[in-house]
Subunit: 107 residues, 4 copies
């Protein structure tokens, strides 16, 4: 995934449409909640077992795929506006998770 | 960002800790809502103006950074469990957004 | 508000439609997130100032009103399924909030 | 439940602590998402079956009870700030749900 390129294109789209004024961290964090909840909406009344195969239905799949991409764009924009480097954030989190579970019996 | 490598390491961590049984799409979509809302919690009572500089405070920044990474891991795991390719999802969404706004007066 | 009567009617509707099997606490908590986020969707890109008058537009008002009622039903059902008395919960919370802020300079 | 009395006391507490300035509809809708997600956090990795008995554990019960009350207060405040009568909203929704399902085979 060429993240820098995708981010650059997305930022250009935002600029072309004058979206930056709306993209405050407060609004982007709200938008992450909203787009995540729209994904959850597909799963809220089905069982975990049923949820395993939901994305095989083309209609559901397209909506879940679009919801994932939308949440990801909001997440990238929030990181960008907050001066947070996603790659660094991910490495730090992965390291912390690995440390937290290093001594676990099944590790 | 070497996404395939990060995803591989994360999947190994999940396997080592037997987390896959919990990582159903239904649970991962819930977890995305929860971790997004934990980010929003920092912004819920401040103004949009104030939200622009919140990540400059080291304590807030660390929590927002961790929340972004956590949401991203849940998002990657949901895509993975649903057979959705994040890169494809992002490209499709970027294309659709660009098309939707191609004819806009300020494009 | 005759809460016991409303709750009784709502429970009958759930029984008549065999909804109880879906109304596990896990699902109801998810549904509260989803219906809350659908309310937030109306506010996510507007300013706090603009949000003060949004409910004056009939179309927005109807959707916000429906979202509030839906979240309230999920909340009532979650309390009911969890053996939690909403009135007691509210009194306990009001008391705690009042205690927490009793010594505040402007109290 | 003496809702008007509880709402009056809650509004006084808000006034005494100068909270109204923070209680814009935009912020209250965010707060509903955050407090709902904090309830969901208790259920996100457990099964629906396990969720049925979670509120029997005193520690979990207290947190879920507090989360329900907090969400309810935000919901009341949002309705109040938006000029929406909760009782009317609930009756309208109950009527609509009953109508939508009147002709269902199992009604």
């Amino acid at each position: 995934m060429d993240l820098p390129k995708i981010l650059k294109q997305y930022n250009e789209l935002c600029e072309d449409n004058d979206w930056q004024v709306f993209h405050t961290p407060k609004n982007l964090a709200s938008a992450m909640c909203v787009s995540s909840a729209k994904i959850l909406e597909h799963y809220q009344w089905i069982t975990e077992e049923e949820s395993l195969s939901l994305a095989r239905l083309p209609n559901s799949r397209d909506k879940i795929e679009a919801g994932i991409a939308e949440t990801f764009f909001h997440l990238l924009a929030l990181a960008n506006r907050s001066g947070i480097d996603l790659e660094q954030a991910v490495l730090k989190k992965a390291l912390k998770d690995a440390e937290d579970h290093q001594g676990a019996p099944d590790a």
